[in-house]
Symmetry: C2
């Protein structure tokens, strides 16, 4: 597995690259649709591939570990075979979900103890066993166990948490080095930079993770409620320290504008539930702005869903029809909107890449952010 | 619009025919997927067309009238254009839903008065205005307003109800004759035979509807809780009276076995929510029997969903994966199961047609009913 930097913008830090993983050569910058329990919600695998043009999707270790469970995934021969997805998969470490979903969670030096939100059963995630779990899942890219600090977070807590995240990273990376893939293809292991919104902690963390010779590095603990400017500031501070020849993944980000700003600060990979979650609530992202499809103004608008859209739903269905389906709580509404939004996100990063390669990213980004953030 | 009988079985009354409608030449016997509010639940239009091979779908007048409402449908240029479906559409008259869904419903000679289940607004369906409504919807086949008697239903009520249904039919047919299509294509109007489970009422009703020179006739008020044998008996009694050269539509039927028995008794058209509703609960119909995909026995069964299935979901996804999605309440589960079940229903009627044309239906039906009714 390797990363090749093709081009860096002369204005700003935007980069175009190639990340070669076991299942897919990924053109960066890239957005990764979230497929929590082994399904990107409301989307068929062939739609992800052919209509959305996803190159890599994300699975949540916490969810997959609880259901279907490791026995089933192992018997299937890994997650790729289980869900029949032949391109790349990245899994998180499960730490974030333990703190957002599980009951009775408790952090110790050893790891994160929690009760399942499904059946109350008791479990522990350690830096070592989340490597083992992700070996069984068989993701192309595995993530280190970390604590994702909330926002706001006082300095003392952020510092202690960062120490724990760093200790866990050492143990996790050691375990990663001492274990082997189960299915005959290579897996990468990404350390995660934490440090809340504190410059010195972010700097220390970025420097700390560099000692591990990883294929790529992630930036966690952002997009958790802090002002966007803080997120951008922390991102830039970290990408300036991380090695130039390795991909950087900004976890859980974000809006289309957040993604363009992240790219401008040297980020190569993104994931977020926003395109699918907001789709289920009737929010559509387009090249010309944001549509709330429930709005009465679309009631008799029989024009194509998105004349500039890139997937079949944009041509096949009208705004008025999608509005009707959304208001009527029809399942097809979420299916249409999810494909549309994901195809838009993938178009956006592909176009960003093109603009980077043409040395026009900075100018294009400014214009694009104005367009995509307006309300239609 | 016309119907051409191609072949009638020598044993039993099974028939193969061609029903030419404005949008589609339909090969009968046929099953019509239910698209209540202008969407077959969880299924894209191109999947209906290419994967399920539906030739005609059903829309519910009650639902469409309330939402999106007639203004939107008229502005769209009819339901076909609104939902972008170019094959045939049949709409019911709305009477059945008034009695199963609406609040404060009341039957008078004039029509059915009811309050919307969505916003409590007050409405009336009359034999005349349901023609007007279906003219606006623009379905290829419209249905007469009737009262669908419940089961059990005492003789006195069934007889009085039948008198009302017949009076309404006269008014509705007159209104149909006096009005014209709005969108430049022909619409048919099907009378409905009622009479509960009473032979003399069914006979009288079948004879009554014959006086109207309709393109086809429907049999209503069955599959409402009566024993299957009663349904078959009433169906046969009615089809023996209805003109041979017109299609017969058995409303709301049924299980795959019900459909084969209906075909054997001379029925040409069927609709039912069962393939999609049961799909959403994890029940799959296959050539070899019924699968409850939630069952633990499928947990580690990574074989194709249905090796003999006709749609892409059968090859693309495994039983274990669909079980996992179903148990996890993932939207994709209903999408996969709905496509599978509808494709099976359409395969079943297509195969029935082939067997009729080959003069082998009766033998094939006996074997098939044993196979498809077993539990896997």
């Amino acid at each position: 597995m390797y990363f090749e930097l093709e081009k860096t913008a002369t204005q700003g830090q935007a980069r175009a690259g190639i990340l070669k993983t076991a299942h897919q050569t990924i053109e960066t910058p890239i957005f990764m649709p979230v497929g929590t329990v082994g399904s990107v919600k409301a989307v068929h695998q062939h739609e992800l591939d052919e209509d959305i043009k996803a190159q890599i999707i994300l699975g949540n270790t916490y969810h997959l570990y609880l259901r279907p469970g490791l026995e089933v995934i192992k018997n299937a021969g890994g997650l790729h075979k289980f869900i029949n997805w032949n391109k790349a998969i990245l899994t998180d470490s499960g730490g974030y979900q333990v703190f957002s979903l599980a009951a009775n969670r408790k952090l110790t030096d050893e790891g994160a103890i929690f009760k399942s939100h499904i059946d109350g059963s008791k479990h522990i995630f350690t830096p070592e066993n989340v490597v083992d779990i992700q070996r069984i899942i068989g993701s192309d890219i595995m993530m280190a166990l970390d604590e994702c600090t909330p926002y706001p977070c006082d300095y003392k807590y952020a510092k202690e948490s960062l120490d724990l995240t760093h200790k866990w990273l050492k143990r996790g990376f050691n375990h990663f080095k001492q274990t082997s893939p189960l299915y005959g293809f290579e897996q990468a292991y990404f350390p995660i930079v934490q440090g809340s919104v504190y410059k010195d902690l972010r700097q220390a963390s970025a420097e700390f993770v560099c000692q591990f010779d990883a294929v790529g590095y992630a930036i966690g603990g952002l997009s958790v409620g802090e002002p966007a400017e803080k997120m951008y500031e922390m991102t830039q501070l970290v990408t300036e320290i991380l090695p130039k020849n390795k991909p950087r993944y900004l976890m859980g980000v974000g809006t289309p504008a957040n993604i363009l700003e992240g790219i401008d600060r040297g980020v190569d990979m993104f994931d977020c539930v926003m395109p699918t979650r907001n789709a289920r609530n009737g929010m559509l992202f387009t090249k010309n702005g944001i549509i709330n499809i429930k709005n009465a103004k679309w009631k008799n608008d029989f024009s194509e869903l998105d004349e500039q859209g890139t997937s079949f739903v944009d041509k096949k269905y009208s705004k008025a029809y999608l509005r009707h389906l959304t208001i009527s709580n029809e399942r097809l509404a979420a299916q249409i909107s999810s494909i549309h939004n994901l195809a838009f996100y993938l178009w956006l990063v592909k176009e960003a890449r093109k603009q980077i390669l043409e040395n026009n990213f900075s100018k294009w980004k400014k214009e694009m952010i104005i367009r995509i953030t307006q309300r239609l």
